[in-house]
């Protein structure tokens, strides 16, 4: 094992450009697979867990009693369905909106560490693009989703869609700001904008070091992901399906998938920023000790996702004016307060 790592490091030193290219291509292939399969598992998990909350069974026919193949069946259905583009739609924008949404997700996925491998006494982070400002970059790439939502809603030429797009836009602007401030607060405490270094710097989880920031970030994240109680942009009882009303077939599938991709990536981001990422005691069993950071991160992500589903099954949806009210009048001032706290505590520990 050590020999392989040594030769890889040697190769990296000799041919840095080629090494970066290979890592990029292989990494892109791996993260697309991981993120999409992960999203499918999230969808399946949401169905199962939500059914459990509601005293139902959930999918239990396709693929045994756990319904594990249900998603495959759903994906095949979506991908083989007729793809309808409304006659009055703005075709170019309409076609590109799901693609922009996918791209936004992949851009986020590129910079997010999916965990680490514990080899030779140290953690090797699994991240494709390990940049110095990855926290800022991820935050920026996440908000690209808002543009995709607006493109979809605007180009559909549908009344429900445009209302959904407006709602989505208003909501995201109101919550991107406090979310960004929270990320900055974390970066100030960690003295770095690099997500890997943020994880490494967490001797105390930032959820405990700045609880206010944690709460604000969780609420802003749920808003960003468009989940109940903040799913106004696709509130089906009010505006049918919101911005994706007119979409069908594979394009709808892409937009639908993005929501779950983002849920997965958002949970990872939350775990990394506030819950110590992949940190945790190393399991003293051969092989398991290598992947033990991965296991810790996975456990945290699963718990976060489970809580999100719990919230969905037990909270009412807020009205859009109440959402923006909450965002601008409460979340933003409180996040700035948290920033001050982070500056004081951060400089004290420094």
């Amino acid at each position: 094992m050590d020999g392989i790592i040594e030769s890889i490091t040697q190769f990296q030193a000799q041919e840095p450009a080629v090494f970066a290219l290979i890592i990029g291509i292989v990494g892109a292939a791996i993260i697309s697979a991981v993120v999409n399969i992960g999203a499918m598992l999230v969808i399946w998990g949401e169905r199962k867990v939500l059914s459990d909350f509601c005293n139902r069974y959930g999918p239990n026919r396709v693929g045994g009693r756990w319904g594990i193949l249900q998603l495959g069946a759903d994906a095949i259905k979506l991908f083989t369905k007729e793809d309808i583009i409304p006659g009055d739609a703005d075709k170019g924008v309409y076609v590109w909106a799901p693609i922009v949404a996918s791209m936004a997700t992949m851009l986020v996925a590129a910079a997010i560490p999916f965990g680490a491998l514990h080899i030779g006494g140290k953690d090797i982070p699994l991240v494709v693009a390990n940049m110095d400002i990855s926290a800022l970059y991820v935050e920026a790439a996440l908000s690209l989703m808002a543009i995709a939502v607006f493109m979809a809603g605007y180009s559909s030429n549908n009344k429900y869609s445009i209302l959904g797009a407006f709602r989505g836009m208003a909501r995201m602007i109101a919550y991107e700001v406090p979310m960004g401030v929270c990320v900055i607060s974390v970066a100030i405490m960690a003295h770095s904008l690099n997500l890997v270094e943020i994880v490494q710097s967490q001797t105390i989880w930032y959820a405990f070091a700045q609880p206010l920031g944690f709460v604000i970030f969780v609420i802003a994240l749920i808003t960003d992901l468009g989940r109940i109680p903040f799913d106004q942009s696709e509130a089906e009882e009010e505006i049918i399906s919101g911005y994706n009303t007119e979409y069908s077939g594979i394009r709808f599938g892409l937009l639908y998938f993005q929501e779950y991709n983002n849920a997965l990536l958002g949970s990872i981001l939350l775990a990394i920023l506030f819950l110590g990422g992949w940190q945790g005691p190393i399991i003293p069993i051969p092989i398991l000790d290598i992947v033990s950071p991965l296991i810790w991160l996975l456990m945290k992500v699963v718990i976060i996702l489970w809580c999100m589903i719990w919230v969905r099954s037990s909270l009412f949806r807020l009205r859009i004016d109440q959402v923006t009210d909450l965002g601008w009048k409460w979340m933003l001032p409180l996040s700035i307060l948290n920033l001050g706290w982070a500056v004081i505590i951060g400089s004290y520990f420094a």
Binding site: L163, I228, A235, E236, E238, Q322
Partner: protein, 570 residues
């Protein structure tokens, strides 16, 4: 509290000669034929002097043998007294026309529109005499008149041709044959009035406004009805409502079925409250027949109707929750699962889950099965604890209060003026329950409270329903304790032909006041059945309530009314 004969004498002394014919059926029922010239004055007298503040509806009757038509105005009071006055106004069959009461009673609007489109009786002074239940192109045939022969079959008729209407729609049209024109059975020309679409588009004042559908194809609606809202951004500026998507013409169908067959049609009006519909129809017929219902049958009816109320309130509340919380909301599923237990209880007696056809003239179809009381004693305490849990859950939820407080609030006066009944009325604080006002069966002997709210907003309406579940359980428990043994059907044989007569019978449906006006001409079929549906009355208030609210609130308000369009359309 005044009674029917005092009302009659008061009217007679105030307007000598206005009452052409009268009959005091009991302390609570007054039948009077009023001079058509004086009907407005009489109604004004009733509403201002005698507390008749509840305009309960109107029925049209076509007396073809006497060559005249009748409009029967049904008036009652919100608790000041218990008299129901049935005021008949006669008009000739050629160019029938009576005075509109819309100036006096706001909610007369829909009842009069319905009579106009079905019977062709013109209402002088009606502000918007447009079709309500019928599609525009069918107006003019007056389908509920006794000499109506049916529409030409547009689907198979060889003579049908496609025409384009002035509004730009394509429709099938059957040109009349000369014989038909001579007989006068076809629509000769379309009446001149703006279509629904034109009325809507007239209201659009600027580019920032648009019309958005909230039905019939929408996740919000509990059944098909057209609700269009004129929105500017997130604000609803005006709402437009159109009914008739599931208009089945039940009232007309019942005129062509035997008395007994009519019961099955009442089931289909509102399938979540079919037992109270059964009760209403059977009660009216029993009144004409003068049948006495055995005590045991009365108790069985009360038990089942209260069970039916519980399950109706559970599904009504549950569906409402999905509107403001999404379908993944767990309590809504809990309500459906709990409702299933009540449904099974009813099923064990009636054999059907929703359409029971259980009540019979002078009794019920069959007795309670073995061990019914034991089953009830298991389910009811559980339901009680669940209902309390739900009440607590919503009371403590801050987001629920954010969404529900003062949303769609109605004041007591407005609610009375608009003719709302049932939980939406009681939520405003008016203690008006037909079980107390016009008691039937064994209700007077039972101890129960009328649940009222305070603000009359959406949250209160839900709260009243949930608390009514507790009261219903209390009623059932009393009934199970007291139910005597004995026959479940009347000893006298129910004749096939019901003697000539008429009756108006009211029950407290889960959705409010339901009344049926049944006329017999001595035949084996009803001459006329008029259903005064509770949701039809509540439905009418939706458009004014939606003005000026947010879209999300519009959905919450419409949902909190516990809609049953199937019963409104009939």
């Amino acid at each position: 509290m005044i009674n029917a004969s005092e009302v009659l004498s008061s009217v007679q002394s105030a307007f000598p000669g206005a009452v052409l014919d009268s009959r005091v059926e009991s302390d609570r029922r007054l039948w009077a034929t009023i001079d058509s010239e004086k009907i407005l004055d009489v109604c004004k007298h009733l509403s201002t002097k005698l507390n008749f503040d509840h305009y309960s509806g109107a029925a049209g009757v076509d007396w073809i043998a006497r060559n005249e038509m009748e409009v029967v105005e049904i008036m009652a009071s919100h608790g000041a007294h218990q008299v129901v006055a049935m005021l008949k106004v006669k008009t000739p069959r050629e160019n029938p026309s009576v005075k509109s009461l819309t100036g006096l009673y706001w909610n007369a609007n829909w009842y009069e529109r319905e009579i106009w489109e079905m019977f062709g009786i013109n209402f002088e002074g009606h502000p918007e005499q447009y079709p309500l239940l019928l599609p525009d192109e069918l107006v003019g045939a007056w389908p509920w008149r006794k000499d109506f022969k049916g529409y030409p079959d547009l689907t198979t008729g060889e003579r049908a041709i496609q025409i384009t209407t002035p509004e730009g729609y394509t429709e099938l049209h059957v040109p009349p044959t000369p014989a038909e024109v001579e007989a006068g059975t076809v629509v000769k020309e379309r009446p001149k009035y703006p279509s629904f679409r034109e009325r809507e588009e007239k209201e659009i004042k600027s580019d920032a406004e648009m019309i958005m559908h909230l039905g019939p194809q929408h996740a919000m609606v509990p059944g098909p009805f057209l609700l269009d809202i004129l929105v500017e951004g997130e604000r609803v500026k005006k709402a437009f409502l159109d009914l008739g998507y599931i208009h089945k013409g039940i009232e007309k169908i019942m005129e062509n079925r035997s008395w007994l067959q009519g019961i099955t049609y009442t089931d289909r009006m509102c399938y979540v409250a079919s037992l109270s519909n059964n009760e209403c129809y059977c009660g009216a017929v029993e009144k004409i027949l003068g049948l006495e219902v055995p005590l045991r049958a009365q108790y069985i009816r009360v038990i089942l109707e209260e069970l039916s109320r519980i399950q109706s309130h559970l599904i009504g509340t549950g569906e409402f929750l999905t509107l403001i919380a999404g379908v993944g909301f767990a309590p809504w599923q809990y309500m459906i699962i709990d409702r299933e237990q009540i449904i099974s209880l009813i099923e064990s007696v009636t054999g059907a889950r929703l359409t029971h056809t259980f009540v019979r003239f002078g009794g019920v179809r069959n007795d309670l099965p073995e061990g019914f009381a034991d089953k009830c004693s298991k389910v009811l305490p559980y339901m009680k604890s669940r209902a309390k849990e739900f009440i607590e859950l919503f009371e403590q939820d801050p987001i629920y209060h954010l969404r529900m407080d003062n949303v769609g609030a109605i004041t007591q006066e407005t609610a009375k003026r608009m003719g709302v009944s049932g939980p939406p009325l009681r939520a405003t604080g008016v203690s008006y329950d037909i079980r107390k006002e016009d008691p039937i069966l064994v209700y007077p002997e039972l101890d129960f409270k009328v649940i009222t709210g305070t603000n009359g907003d959406s949250g209160d309406r839900i709260d009243v329903r949930l608390r009514e579940i507790l009261e219903s359980i209390h009623i059932i428990e009393q009934c199970l304790d007291r139910i005597p043994s004995g026959p479940i059907k009347t000893e006298t044989k129910v004749p096939k032909k019901v003697p000539a007569g008429e009756a108006y019978y009211r029950v407290e449906d889960p959705r409010g006041e339901m009344g049926m006006y049944v006329i017999s001409d001595g035949g084996d079929k009803p001459y006329r059945v008029k259903v005064r549906g509770p949701f039809y009355a509540t439905f009418q208030t939706l458009t004014p309530l939606l003005e000026g609210v947010y879209i999300a609130d519009a959905v919450a308000i419409a949902g909190s009314m516990d809609g049953c369009p199937s019963e409104a359309d009939r």
